[in-house]
Structure formats: structure tokens, C-alpha cells
């Protein structure tokens, strides 16, 4: 993870022999480009579902460029129904598709993200890197032009996905009656993206295509199943083991946990769950020594399967509007109980981590094979020790259960979320398989 950001790449390259342009793989630049988007999203406090939307469009822009260069790679239209025809506008000039596609990731982020302007700096640094790599100025210039052209078309396509209309829809009002979600301490933030189900999905057909299994019915009765679910979560808040705390913290991925000091509330920013799995994808690509095209393909597929998983999950969340453990426990069990993690501001069922991690694990397992061991050191920035995983599923299941340890999800939400995410992942994998995308790494 040392070469995560362009600044460090630039510094680290000073001591090394410069790459020969014609042999330069540029593969190492993909993850830093994606991470640059993560950084801006952290600054903007982009919420988890929206984050995967940005990753999806940005990596699709880059993917579009490699597709035009590599005929063996199926176009996105073969697995994304709404994908439009996108032209490469090179005006007959020579460009480098790798230069163009890495640049396209940044450019798409710049166009789409609220504080996209912050990526101008990263674009400059990237160009400096290419210059160091002896890419001729004219090639860089033409490649940038190609990237900008593709991004423009991708951005135009993105405008039809319903994101711009979210503000026209009715916002969430806590439902009357017990058992429904309402805002949670300490910041009591409004419900995040209550209408995310209206966003056009990428590969799946609709937001409600993969409904979760029914959830345990609400009850205050101490002998009820629901109460038992609460007591399980309660216990982790009262007396967690060190390992449980470590796992909960490792998978926190709360983009904006708020701490209050009297009138002051300060936000602790972290990368979103989608961002975390984008990092994991990068780690896997490096470990499997994938080439440039494959690395980009893996990032694109990870982003897109997560976007669909979030749409599916958010449909479930705002169909069930289930109360969070913190709200239930404070009200009915222990007013002073606090979860180990801060409760995110949206309904409980199903667990987003469970759905999304399972969906992306299904995808990564297909691409990289099962029992793909790796060490996830992407959370080192937050002083979290790297964790070793024996497979993507090993990680996904830990991510899922971490939410119970964290005191923010119930067991059924996690179990049924894993099931739901797996179905989304399997569906998407089938689609890309049909489109002709095979596993990328040979074990």
C-alpha cells in the first residue's frame, strides 16, 4: 500500500531507474488513480451507495478505452443493458490507451465528484509520472484528449440514471409505530439516500430483483426472537473480546463518524466499504500480477457489482425501515448502552457490509479463484494492523459479522444479507461469463 498515492509514487520513483516508455506497464498507476477518488470522496463525505456509483462510472470510462484497444475484451454493453455507444475521439492522432485510461479514471472523478476539482492536482502528478516514464508530450496530450472525450460521454450517460432526480423525491420520514428506523446518536443524521432504489442499476434488472429473506419480526417481548437478536448485539457492546473489537474496527468503513464535544461535533472520516473493497481488489491484482488490462477490468467489475449490490440492499433497507440495535436497546434494554461502532444513518435490514462484501467476494472469487490468500493492509492509515485472509469469502464473512460485533446490525440482517449479496454477485458473474469474461488469474 506504500505506492497508494501519486505523490508517493513520484517520490519513490526518484531513486529508481525510470521506466522505458515502450516497456512501461503502467499497471501500478491504476490503484493510485482509484484511491485518488477515494480521497476526494472522503473529503466530500460521499455516502456508501453513492461512492460505488462514482467508482463504477470512473472505471467504466477507463474500461471503455481498453476495450477499444483490446478486441479480446468484451464491451460493457454486453453485460450492462443501458450502456450507450461510446466513441473514441482521437482525431486520428496517436495516443497511448493506458495513459488515456488511467487519466480517464481521474477525469471522470473530476467531472462527477462534488470536490472533483481536487483531482486537478492528481492529474498533474500523473502527467508528471508519465513524463518521467518518457512518454512523449504529444502522446500524453492526445491521450488526455481521448480520455476527456470518453469521460464526457460517460458523464452524459450517467445523467440518465436517476441520480439528479433524487432531490425531487420524498425524503424519509420516520414511520409511526414501533420497530421502525429513526435517527441515532450522536448526530441524529437524516436517513441517507432513502430513494437510492430509483437509481438505474448496472448489470441487474431491478432494485427488487434480489429481495432478502424475511426478517425476524419486531417484538419487545423478552422471550421473542427479535429480543434475542438484540441481546446478542447488546452483549458485544457490554463485553467484547479484543478480537471482536479488532474485527469491528477493521471493517468500520464509516465515512463520517461524529464525535461531539459540547456544541462542537467533529467528523472522523474513513473510506467507504466500497472504497475498502476497491483497495482489496488492487491488492489482489498486484498479488496475482495481473497486467494492465486485467487490473482495470477487475476494478471495473468490483465497482459495478458493488453498485448493484448497494441498490439491492438499499431497496431492502427502505422497504423494511427496521430499527437499529442502538435505538432498540437504548429504549427497551439499557439507556446508556453504546455500540462499539457508530450506528450509520440508515435503516438496519439488510446489512450493507454483508450484501456488498458477499457480492464483491463472489465476483473476486470468480476472477481470482477460491482460496486466494492475501494480506489486507489497506486500513493501515487508520492505525489498524493488516489482516491476513485465506480467501475473499473469508474476508467477506468477517466483514459481515463485524457489524454484529460493532453493535450496529442483527444476526439475521447479516446472514440474510450475505445470502442476498451472494445472489447479486452470482447473477452478475453469470452475466459477464456469458459476455465472455473469464477468470483473470490462474491459481
Amino acid at each position: 500500500m506504500k505506492k497508494l498515492i501519486f505523490g508517493l509514487l513520484l517520490v519513490s520513483q526518484l531513486g529508481h531507474a525510470q521506466q522505458q516508455y515502450d516497456k512501461a506497464p503502467f499497471t501500478d498507476y491504476i490503484q493510485p488513480a482509484v484511491f485518488s477518488l477515494s480521497m476526494v470522496m472522503m473529503h466530500d463525505v460521499v455516502n456508501p451507495p453513492a461512492a460505488t456509483r462514482f467508482y463504477s462510472y470512473a472505471t467504466l470510462a477507463a474500461y471503455q478505452i481498453i476495450v477499444k484497444h483490446n478486441p479480446s475484451i468484451p464491451g460493457a454493453a454486453s453485460f450492462i443493458k443501458s450502456y450507450p455507444a461510446i466513441a473514441i475521439q482521437d482525431s486520428g492522432r496517436t495516443y497511448d490507451y493506458k495513459v488515456a485510461s488511467v487519466y480517464a479514471i481521474l477525469e471522470a472523478g473530476k467531472q462527477l465528484l462534488p470536490s472533483g476539482y481536487m483531482l486537478t492536482e492528481d492529474e498533474k502528478k500523473l502527467i508528471d509520472l508519465f513524463k518521467k516514464d518518457q512518454v512523449p508530450d504529444s502522446i500524453i496530450k492526445n491521450s488526455v484528449m481521448v480520455a476527456e472525450g470518453v469521460v464526457k460521454q460517460i458523464v452524459a450517460w450517467s445523467k440518465g440514471d436517476g441520480y439528479g432526480k433524487l432531490s425531487t423525491l420524498r425524503r424519509y420520514t420516520p414511520l409511526k409505530g414501533e420497530g421502525y428506523w429513526y435517527p441515532t446518536p450522536p448526530a441524529y443524521m437524516d436517513a441517507v439516500e432513502p430513494n437510492w432504489r430509483t437509481i438505474r442499476p448496472m448489470v441487474i434488472d431491478s432494485c427488487s430483483q434480489f429481495k432478502p429473506k424475511p426478517m425476524t419480526a419486531f417484538s419487545k417481548d423478552t422471550s421473542s426472537d427479535f429480543y434475542r437478536l438484540n441481546m446478542e448485539v447488546y452483549k458485544y457492546g457490554v463485553n467484547p473480546t479484543k478480537e471482536e473489537m479488532t474485527i469491528a474496527g477493521f471493517w468500520d468503513c464509516n465515512p463520517f463518524a461524529v464525535s461531539t464535544y459540547g456544541h462542537m461535533a467533529i467528523g472522523f472520516k474513513k473510506i467507504t466499504p466500497g472504497g475498502h473493497w476497491m483497495n482489496i481488489t488492487g491488492i489482489a491484482c498486484r498479488k496475482a500480477k495481473l497486467d494492465f488490462d486485467q487490473t482495470l477490468q477487475a476494478h471495473m467489475l468490483a465497482a459495478n457489482v458493488m453498485m448493484d449490490a448497494f441498490i439491492t440492499c438499499w431497496d431492502a433497507k427502505y422497504s423494511t425501515n427496521r430499527i437499529r440495535p442502538e435505538a432498540f436497546i437504548n429504549k427497551y434494554i439499557d439507556v446508556k448502552w453504546k455500540p462499539n461502532l457508530q450506528t450509520p444513518p440508515f435503516p438496519e435490514y439488510t446489512s450493507g457490509h454483508s450484501v456488498v462484501s458477499s457480492a464483491v467476494a463472489t465476483m473476486l472469487t470468480y476472477l481470482f479463484g477460491d482460496n486466494f490468500e492475501y494480506t489486507d493492509n489497506s486500513e493501515e492509515f487508520w492505525e489498524l494492523t493488516p489482516r491476513h485472509f485465506t480467501s475473499f469469502w473469508n474476508a467477506a464473512k468477517e466483514a459481515a459479522v463485524s457489524r454484529i460485533y460493532g453493535g450496529i446490525h442483527y444476526r439475521d440482517s447479516v446472514d440474510n444479507g450475505v445470502d442476498q449479496g451472494t445472489r447479486v454477485g452470482t447473477f452478475v458473474v453469470e452475466k459477464i461469463k456469458k459476455a465472455g469474461i473469464g477468470p483473470l488469474a490462474k491459481n
Partner: protein
């Protein structure tokens, strides 16, 4: 040498006088060098001790004033949080001597302890003022034990808190000594605060807990030993207590001292009413309609000279646009609803001025008065600074660092990520020093004598920026005007000399009362001064403001009067002492010598008498939040009930009532019985409450059979859509037996939008009754103009829509038919939200918009209601129009109009409405950056930070071309008005200030006080508004007595006898058992009936 010295003095004197004439400011800030007061309150922020470690780190310190050595000069004690306090002896002529070192061991307070408030009181009743110092901070109990320095005479003090039982280890803010039980000695209320804000909103459960270190305490003085009687006395001691302010006064004028305690954060303020038996009852919710949310200092004083104490609490709403946009505001409906569900009451972030109505209710009119927005303010002091007989207002202001800055909130996240990337540890001091520092001016307001104030920061010389905390006023130089002393963080204390006497030769009268028994300072005594035809009223109660205590010596400004006509002193225990013809410009030392008996209170028969028990109807409003559909509206439209209409439906000679449904039960007829009570007619269910939202109802004879038929207009917003059956009005035809039968086919389709009013009139003089139906709003498409309808009767009760010029003229709220041009045809006047009062003249062959002929300038308002009455007896009907009033954040005038721009600016299929109004001379959008981002997603890209947005005007948000194409609604008048119909013009005749306290939604006209002249009863309030606007609830029913010439005067609430709490949605006069009653439909309550005189 002698000669030259006096020459120098003469030269200096002339310099000073030149300076005075050059500046002409009421206050002169005196430098430390001349006063000898070098005290300051320095804060030393360190990694270990800072605002993150102790959240009340910036709350400042206090000052108390009193004559410690009985030499006639007011001495000062200042506390400092981290440094020793300082005791200054007043040497006269605004010169002071620091005697801290000589006055007794430890009088500066405990080193290394966190000192807060200070008060002076003759605790042991020996005639000498003692000093009590409070402590807080996250330290051990011993470090926090409060100190009581007993005055030994000759400016020597000995600490005896333990001996007196007052060495309390609580987290104390301040203490007040006063006599709770009228037993002649001083008891003590200790104001405390918690040190941990509880974020969990399960407050109902926390309220059941006791935290004796954070909760307030009440001590009874038992012969110079103080006994904790907190719980026995009914004082709340829960861990939610964040006591920042206390003021003591006899709020209900029953001769016993009451207590107002403010609470920061979520816990509501407490109003403790004295039960006359050593206990108190907390009565906040019964007494006030809403409270300041993050309440700080408080003062109680009679500011309108009606002899009733009013209450002012401070909060932290900034005055300027920039800081309103930069700092955290309250915009979460969920949070607000949760607070209400947890019994935390209505609280809003701004100063609250609670005007005492004298009938147990208070009208909060801080915004009308112009004192609601004074930023992060601490110490309010209501006192007459210009000696004109009316109390002015001084407010200290400032917080060392803007830690609610919204960019800063996000900065911390970025900082932490950056530090993580750089593998560097996080330092609190990095964070702290990154918080913006904005020194602020204190506020001073002059009382305009009409319930409002004017800002006089510049003119009166209170314009030095800084961070001020506690403050007191006192006549330090005994010249007959009130000087100011301010404790400041990191700056020397401010000493401001009042030049009113010197410059304006104003008159005054000062009082030093000597009370009975051990209450030597006569705490709780009331003084009334009558001069210049006005009554002034003050109580001897030094406990007020913030972290300090004012003097027990009272000063009254007498303007230019040479004497007070009379003076009345009411000693504790209601013993009276009167004086006549008291010469001005003296200090009166008055010993306890009562010479008059309290005359029995005379009870006037009020104009209205509330009559309960005649109708059994409870209204429960449906839960809807219209802002979840269009977040940038100003008001909700869903809450329309209860709607009432009256008619003798069954022709039994008694008037019956239609009452709309309440969300669960359908609308019904309530038949009047012989005994005057009403019985629900169970047979008729008039509308489906799950489907419809009735917004107006009227009885009229639709088919000319002599029986009353009923028209129901449908309104609502949240859950109804245009052109759906929910919005189709209903007509019910009377079958001649008092049964109303729905005749849907008799009405054309009028379901385009929600409606507000239906006004019957035979406009075409064809002998049948036609209807005007006003369109209120298009659900989901505010503020586009809805459709209004003129429904023409075919004579048989079947209606068709006529083509009229007022079909699409704005968001109509009310209309009246009135023959303005006296041609025998009724003309139509309509009013509505953000539109002009409009006149449509009925020409016989159609209607013509003649608004401009009848008004010299357009009357653009937020009009809510309209009534017609010949109020000046000239034979022409006049108009009375109900508006928003003056008691809101939204200000508008022809010169500085409020403007609403609307269009689908981002082309996403949704109207984007942006209200703008003037703040400090510039028109700014009301929308916050968070709201803007929520409304138009790409705005995140346009304004990347709160700072970037904080100066934005409309043209920065929307491109000039788009703005030029956008729709625009304008408001130039927010006052409710009387419009006299004179010579073909409608001429504005203003109504009294009390009419502007709240929205006026219903107007009744009639001779209510039976003096032969028409009076007005203005009813209103509107509580479901954009959260930043808060609830408009200051009206309890405003009765205006007419003079028969078009002029009106306010009848005070007790005399009017009307007390309607809540939002009035309908009103009608109705005859019950032959007597005239007023029936009022109150949202979420029911029907109130008032019998007329």
C-alpha cells in the same frame, strides 16, 4: 508648580470635553490606566487542558458589584477561570484600587481551580455584603468546593463556606441568595451544570436519574447554616442539567419569589413557581410556548412598563448572513421531533423575549423586538441606560473559537486522514488552533417604547470587538446613570462610563432599600416609580445576567422630569410603603416602614368568557412533514383542521356546527340542543378523513329551497396529488330534514390543487348563490400558482366553472366579496401567500383586475386572511387583512422586499424555490448550503465549502440568464393591516404592535365590548414551519378595540379574557341559547367556545 499642575488639569479637562462633544457617544470606555482595573481573564490552552477536554472552557468568568464597605460606592469582584480573581475597592470618580492581596487570605480564590460565577449578598444578615465564589472544571471534588468569604468589615474577609454548609463540590455556574419562604433570611439557589453532554436522546429515561454534582441545588438558611432541600423543594436534579443562567423574580406577582433557570443543550429551561411553602413547581410548559435551545444568560425585568416582569434568555443565533451560513444551525426535523417526543418541548436557537401577558401566558416576541439574533451571547442586562424611563438591553457576546463552524467540522476529518497518511500523531492543539477566531461586538439596544428595540452599538459606543462573558451595570460614580463592567477573555475588563447625565442632562431617582430582619438589602422588594405619565417597575434582585450579580441599589431614569409623582415600595411579604412627589436626581435611602395596605385586586369582567363542556370534540393532527416533499417551502400546508361552519341545519331555530374530521373520525354535524350543548349527529359522515383534508367549509343555500347546504373545500399537501379524487371538493344538499346528502355530480372537476377557501356570493345577481373557491398550493409544485375557481350556480345547485382573470393569480389563502365601486355588483378581493392584495371589479360582463386603482402601492404580503367591516362608520366596507406579522426572521419592506425566485434551475423536473430577504442591507438566499445541496445536487460542485457559500447571493447560485427567466414572488409588507375604503382607494391604517406578534389566520369583526364601535378579534399562529423559522405562536387571540374611526387599540389579555393556545384554523360567531359566542377551531386541540360580554 501648583499653578502649572492645575493648568494641566484644566487642559486635560478641556481635551476630555472636546472628545465628548466630538463623539457624542453614550458610553465612554475607560482605559485601565485611569480606572486602575487591570484585571483580565486569560485562558491558557494546552494539549492537556482545553475545550476538547472541558467543553465549558470558553464560557468565561463573572463579575459582581456591591458596596462592600458601606461607603456609598459600588465595589467590584471579578473571577478569572485560571488565574486568581480580583477585588477592587471603588475610590470614587471611576477610580479603583486592587485590594485582593489585603482583603483576606485566599480572597482571589483557589489557585489551579476552575472558577466560574461570583455573587455578593449579605448571607448572614449582619449588614455587610459577603462574597460567594463558584467552582467547576474536571477536577477532584476538593478543588471544586465553592467558597464563601464572610465580610468582617473594613474590607477584610474570611472564608467560611464549610461553616455555613455552602462548601459545595458541584460543577457550579453561579449562586443566587434570596428569600424563598419570606422568613426574612436569605436562602440560596446553586446553579450547576453537567460536564458531559448526553448525545443519546432517550432523555425521558435520563430525566429519571439524579446527578447531585450536575443538578441544581436549593439551600434553606436555618440560622446561618444552610440545609440542602433540593429534592424536597421540587428542584430538578437530573444529569441533563446544563445550568448557565438564573434570574429570580416574582414572575406571577403573588408576593413570592420565583426562579427562572436556563439550560444549555437539550434540557428545557426551568420556571420554578413558588408554592408559598418552601417548595416550587416547575411550570415551563404551561407558561411558555417555546424556549431558547442553548440558553445562556437570563434577565427578568419589565421592559414595556406594564408592571409585569418579562423574561429574556440568550442563545447563539448570529445576526449576520455570513455567520448564519458558516455556523451550525438547526435543520433536522427528526432531531426536533425526537426532542418533542422526549418531552423536551419546543426549543429554537435564538434569544427569546417572553412578554408577560399578565394572565399566566407569555408571548415570545424576540424577533419582533429585534433582539433575537445576537450571536454567541452570554449576559443580558435589561436596564435604562439612557434614563428615558424605559429599560434598554445590553448583551455580552463572543466565544473564543468558532467551534460550530461547519467547515471546521469537516476539517477535522481531513486533518486526521492527512496525519494518518503522514504517519504523524494527532495533536489536539492543532485542531484547536485551526478553529476560526472571530472577535465579536457586544450588543446594546435602545428601547423604542413600542415593544421594540434599536441597535445602538455604534451610537452608544459599545462597538469594541472581543470575547465578553459576565457583566454588570451599576452607577459606579454615583452620578445618576448606569455604567457597565464587562469581564472579558484574554482582554482587560471593560469599564464603560455612562455619559447620559453629563451629555443629556437626564434625570434619575436611585433607591437603596434597607429591609426587615436579616434581609438587610431588601432582596425581593418591588419598587414602582410613577413619573412622566408612565409606570416603571423594578425588583431588588441582584441575581440575573450571567456569572455575576448586579447591585441591590436601583436606578430609575426619569427623562427630563423634575420629580416622580409617586413611588410605591412593596416589601417582601406584600407590605406597602408609598411616597408622593419625590424630587428627581437623588439617592433615596429607604428603611422598612410600611405605611399602606395592599388594596384588594379589582377583577374586571373580561370581554370574553371561556365556556367549556358544550362540545365534545378533540382534534388530532395527522403526522406529516411537507418539507420532506419540498424542503425549501416556508410553511406546511397539510395541517388544515379543524374546520368549522355554522348554520341551522335542521331548522329548529338553533345554530348547528359542521366540524371537519380529525384524521380518524369523519367530519360531522354537531346539532345544538336545547341546553346549548352540542351533540354529534352520528348518522352523517361527511368526508373520509383518510382520503380528504378539508380546508374550508361553508353553508349556503345551493338550490334555493331555503335549507342550508354545505360545501367542503379540500386542501392538504403531503399525501395528495393534483387531479386526484382526494382534492375534489364536495357539495352536500340538505334534504329538508336536516340531512346532508352528497351530490358529487353537482360539482365540476376542481381537483387541480388544494384549496384554501370558499366564499359564496350571488355575484351575477341572478338570485342563486355562486361560489369563489381559492386555490392554495399545488402539492409538490410550490410555489407555482394553483387554480382558483368561480363556480356559477345554474339555480338548481349545479355548478360550472367560469372563465375568470383570477383563475391563476397566486397561492390564495382568503377572499371576500365586497361592492367596492358601489355599482350593486359584488367585487372580489383576494389575498394569498407572497402576492398582492388584489381587487377584481365585477363589471357585469366579467371581472377586471383593478388592483392598481385601489392601492397607491401594491400590498405584497404573506396574507393569510381577509375580513370586511365598515370600521370607520362612513358607510363603506373596509378591509382587514391578516399577514405574517413582524415576529419572524423574514423581514420585508418596499425598499427591502423579500423575494422568492423559482424555476427548475437544474432541469431535473422539480421546482427550485429560493427565498431571499435582506440582512444588514443585502438580500441573501435563505437556503443553507446543506439545503441547497439537497435541493440541487450539482451545487456541491459549485460551492465547495461553507465559507465559499457564506457570501453567496442569488446571482451566485443561478446564472443571470436563468434568474431572468425564473418566476418571482415578492413581499413588501408583513404586517397585518386595516385598509380603509376611502374615495375609491384602500388606504393603509396600521394596527397596534400586538397585532403583529404572530400570523393572523382568522379575523372576526363585531362589537365585542358593547361600546357601539366595531372591534376586531385577530386569531392565528402557525407552528408547522420550516425549522429555521420556528413556530409562530405568540398570539393567544388579539382583541383590538375600535374607536369607530378606523383606529384600534390593544385590549390586554386579562381584560379580553381570551387565551387560545395553538394554531387557529377556523373561527365563527355562533348563537348558543340566544347568546353570542365565538367558536374557534384549534389545530391538534379542538373547538374552543368563548361567550361574548
Amino acid at each position: 508648580m501648583r499653578y502649572s499642575t492645575s493648568l494641566l488639569a484644566l487642559m486635560m479637562a478641556s481635551c476630555i470635553s472636546t472628545a465628548i462633544h466630538a463623539q457624542q457617544k453614550l458610553f465612554q470606555q475607560l482605559p485601565s490606566k485611569s480606572t486602575g482595573i487591570k484585571f483580565s481573564n486569560p485562558l491558557n490552552e494546552t494539549e492537556g487542558l482545553n475545550v476538547l477536554q472541558y467543553e465549558y472552557f470558553y464560557n468565561g468568568a463573572g463579575v459582581a458589584v456591591g458596596d462592600l464597605n458601606n461607603d456609598g460606592l459600588q465595589d467590584l469582584y471579578f473571577t478569572a477561570n485560571m488565574q486568581p480573581g480580583a477585588l477592587y475597592q471603588n475610590l470614587g470618580n471611576m477610580q479603583f484600587k486592587d485590594i485582593t492581596k489585603d482583603a483576606g487570605k485566599g480572597i482571589g480564590g483557589k489557585a489551579d481551580s476552575w472558577k466560574t460565577g461570583v455573587t455578593m449578598a449579605d448571607v448572614n444578615g449582619d449588614g455587610l455584603l459577603d462574597i460567594y465564589i463558584c467552582y467547576s472544571g474536571k477536577r477532584d471534588d476538593a478543588a471544586r468546593r465553592n467558597q464563601l468569604f464572610i465580610n468582617q468589615g473594613n474590607m477584610k474577609f474570611v472564608e467560611k463556606a464549610k461553616e455555613y454548609g455552602l462548601d459545595d463540590p458541584d460543577y457550579s455556574t453561579n449562586a443566587v441568595f434570596f428569600d424563598i419562604d419570606n422568613d426574612g433570611d436569605l436562602d440560596m439557589f446553586l446553579l450547576n451544570h453537567s460536564t458531559n453532554k448526553i448525545d443519546n436522546m432517550e432523555f425521558a429515561r435520563y430525566k429519571a436519574l439524579t446527578d447531585s454534582l450536575a443538578g441544581n441545588k436549593l439551600y434553606r438558611n436555618d440560622n446561618n447554616h444552610f440545609t440542602d432541600i433540593t429534592l424536597k423543594a421540587g428542584i430538578i436534579q437530573n444529569p441533563l442539567t446544563f445550568g448557565l443562567g438564573i434570574a429570580v423574580a416574582d414572575i406571577n406577582k403573588d408576593g413570592w419569589e420565583d426562579i427562572y433557570v436556563t439550560n444549555d443543550y437539550n434540557e428545557p429551561d426551568y420556571l420554578y413557581i413558588n408554592n408559598h411553602d418552601g417548595t416550587f413547581s416547575e411550570r415551563t410548559k404551561e407558561t411558555f410556548k417555546h424556549l431558547s435551545h442553548f440558553s445562556m444568560g437570563v434577565d427578568i425585568a419589565d421592559y414595556n412598563n406594564d408592571g409585569l416582569p418579562d423574561v429574556l434568555t440568550l442563545d447563539m443565533l448570529p445576526e449576520d448572513n455570513k455567520r448564519q451560513k458558516l455556523l451550525q444551525m438547526e435543520e433536522s426535523y427528526e432531531m426536533h421531533d425526537l426532542m418533542k417526543s422526549q418531552d423536551l418541548y419546543e426549543q429554537y436557537m435564538r434569544n427569546m423575549l417572553q412578554l408577560n401577558n399578565g394572565d399566566g401566558t407569555f408571548s415570545e416576541i424576540g424577533q419582533l423586538a429585534g433582539v433575537s439574533n445576537t450571536d454567541w451571547s452570554w449576559c443580558p442586562l435589561l436596564a435604562d441606560f439612557d434614563n428615558d424611563g424605559y429599560k434598554d438591553l445590553f448583551v455580552t457576546n463572543g466565544y473564543l473559537r468558532d467551534y460550530t463552524n461547519k467547515d471546521f467540522l469537516r476539517y477535522w476529518g481531513d486533518y486526521k486522514v492527512k496525519k494518518a497518511m503522514e504517519r504523524e500523531p494527532i495533536r489536539f492543539m492543532d485542531l484547536i488552533t485551526a478553529m476560526p477566531v472571530t472577535p465579536l461586538k457586544n450588543y446594546i439596544f435602545r428601547n423604542n417604547h413600542d415593544l421594540t428595540f434599536s441597535n445602538k452599538q455604534q451610537e452608544w459606543g459599545i462597538d469594541q470587538p472581543g470575547v465578553s462573558s459576565g457583566a454588570v451595570y451599576a452607577d459606579l460614580d454615583n452620578d445618576g446613570d448606569l455604567d457597565l463592567v464587562i469581564n472579558r477573555i484574554n482582554d482587560p475588563a471593560g469599564i464603560y462610563q455612562n455619559m447620559s447625565r453629563e451629555q443629556d442632562k437626564t434625570a434619575y431617582l436611585s433607591f437603596k432599600l434597607h429591609g426587615e430582619g436579616k434581609n438587610t438589602q431588601a432582596i425581593g422588594a418591588k419598587v414602582y416609580v410613577y413619573a412622566n405619565g408612565i409606570q416603571q417597575y423594578q425588583e431588588v434582585n441582584p441575581g440575573k445576567g450571567y456569572l455575576g450579580a448586579v447591585s441591590t441599589q436601583l436606578l430609575f431614569g426619569l427623562g427630563k422630569a423634575a420629580k416622580a409623582d409617586s413611588v410605591l415600595i412593596v416589601w417582601p411579604g406584600n407590605k406597602e410603603q408609598r411616597m408622593k412627589d419625590v424630587a428627581a436626581n437623588q439617592l433615596l435611602k429607604v428603611d422598612f416602614a410600611p405605611n399602606a395596605a395592599l388594596p384588594p385586586a379589582t377583577m374586571l369582567k373580561p370581554v370574553f368568557t371561556k365556556t367549556d363542556g358544550l362540545i365534545d370534540y378533540k382534534h388530532e393532527e395527522m403526522q406529516a412533514n411537507d418539507f420532506k416533499r419540498q424542503l425549501l417551502m416556508l410553511f406546511m400546508y397539510s395541517k388544515t383542521g379543524p374546520v368549522i361552519a355554522k348554520a341551522d341545519v335542521d331548522k329548529d331555530g338553533k345554530e348547528d356546527l359542521y366540524v371537519s374530521g380529525n384524521g380518524e373520525l369523519p367530519g360531522r354535524i354537531y346539532n345544538q340542543l336545547g341546553n346549548g350543548s352540542f351533540e354529534m349527529n352520528k348518522g352523517m359522515k361527511l368526508e373520509d378523513p383518510a382520503e380528504n383534508c378539508v380546508s374550508d367549509a361553508t353553508f349556503f343555500d345551493a338550490n334555493g329551497d331555503g335549507y342550508a347546504d354545505l360545501y367542503l373545500a379540500m386542501g392538504g399537501y403531503f399525501n395528495c396529488d393534483p387531479n386526484t379524487p382526494m382534492l375534489q371538493d364536495e357539495l352536500f344538499i340538505n334534504n329538508g330534514k336536516g340531512i346532508l346528502v352528497k351530490m358529487s355530480e353537482n360539482l365540476p372537476d376542481v381537483s387541480a390543487n388544494s384549496k384554501s377557501c370558499v366564499r359564496p356570493c350571488d355575484f351575477d345577481n341572478d338570485g342563486d348563490i355562486d361560489l369563489f373557491v381559492g386555490g392554495r398550493v399545488i402539492p409538490g409544485q410550490y410555489p407555482l400558482s394553483p387554480l382558483s375557481y368561480l363556480l356559477v350556480n345554474n339555480g338548481k345547485g349545479k355548478f360550472t366553472v367560469a372563465d375568470v382573470p383570477f383563475a391563476k393569480t397566486g397561492m390564495i389563502t382568503d377572499a371576500q366579496w365586497i361592492d367596492l365601486d358601489k355599482d350593486g355588483r359584488k367585487d372580489l378581493v383576494v389575498c394569498g401567500e407572497m402576492m398582492p392584495l388584489s381587487v377584481y371589479i365585477n363589471k357585469g360582463d366579467g371581472f377586471k383586475d383593478k388592483t392598481n386603482d385601489y392601492f397607491d402601492q401594491p400590498q405584497n404580503g404573506f396574507w393569510f386572511s381577509l375580513a370586511v367591516k365598515d370600521v370607520d362608520g362612513d358607510g363603506n366596507d373596509d378591509l382587514i387583512a391578516g399577514n405574517l406579522g413582524l415576529n419572524t426572521q423574514i423581514k420585508a419592506s418596499p425598499k427591502e422586499p423579500a423575494e422568492l425566485y423559482y424555476a427548475d434551475f437544474d432541469k431535473n423536473g422539480n421546482i427550485d424555490p429560493f427565498l431571499n430577504y435582506y440582512i444588514q442591507g443585502v438580500s441573501y438566499p435563505y437556503v443553507s448550503r446543506d439545503e441547497l445541496n439537497d435541493q440541487i445536487y450539482p451545487m456541491r460542485k459549485k460551492f465547495t465549502s461553507y465559507k465559499h457559500y457564506s457570501d453567496a447571493t442569488m446571482k451566485d447560485i443561478v446564472a443571470p440568464d436563468d434568474l431572468a427567466k425564473a418566476g418571482k414572488l415578492t413581499v413588501t409588507e408583513t404586517r397585518s393591516l386595516c385598509l380603509l375604503n376611502k374615495n375609491g382607494k384602500l388606504v393603509v391604517s396600521p394596527l397596534p404592535m400586538e397585532a403583529q406578534f404572530s400570523v393572523v389566520t382568522k379575523i372576526l369583526t363585531g362589537d365585542f365590548n358593547e361600546d357601539g364601535k366595531p372591534d376586531l378579534l385577530l386569531l392565528g399562529n402557525h407552528c408547522d414551519n420550516r425549522l429555521k423559522l420556528g413556530s409562530f405562536d405568540a398570539s393567544y387571540g388579539c382583541l383590538l378595540k375600535g374607536d369607530g374611526k378606523g383606529g384600534f387599540t390593544y385590549v390586554d389579555q386579562s381584560e379580553a379574557g381570551i387565551c387560545i393556545k395553538g394554531d387557529v384554523k377556523s373561527a365563527s360567531e355562533i348563537a348558543i341559547n340566544g347568546k353570542n359566542f365565538v367558536a374557534v377551531g384549534v389545530n391538534n386541540e379542538g373547538i374552543s367556545l368563548y361567550k361574548e360580554k
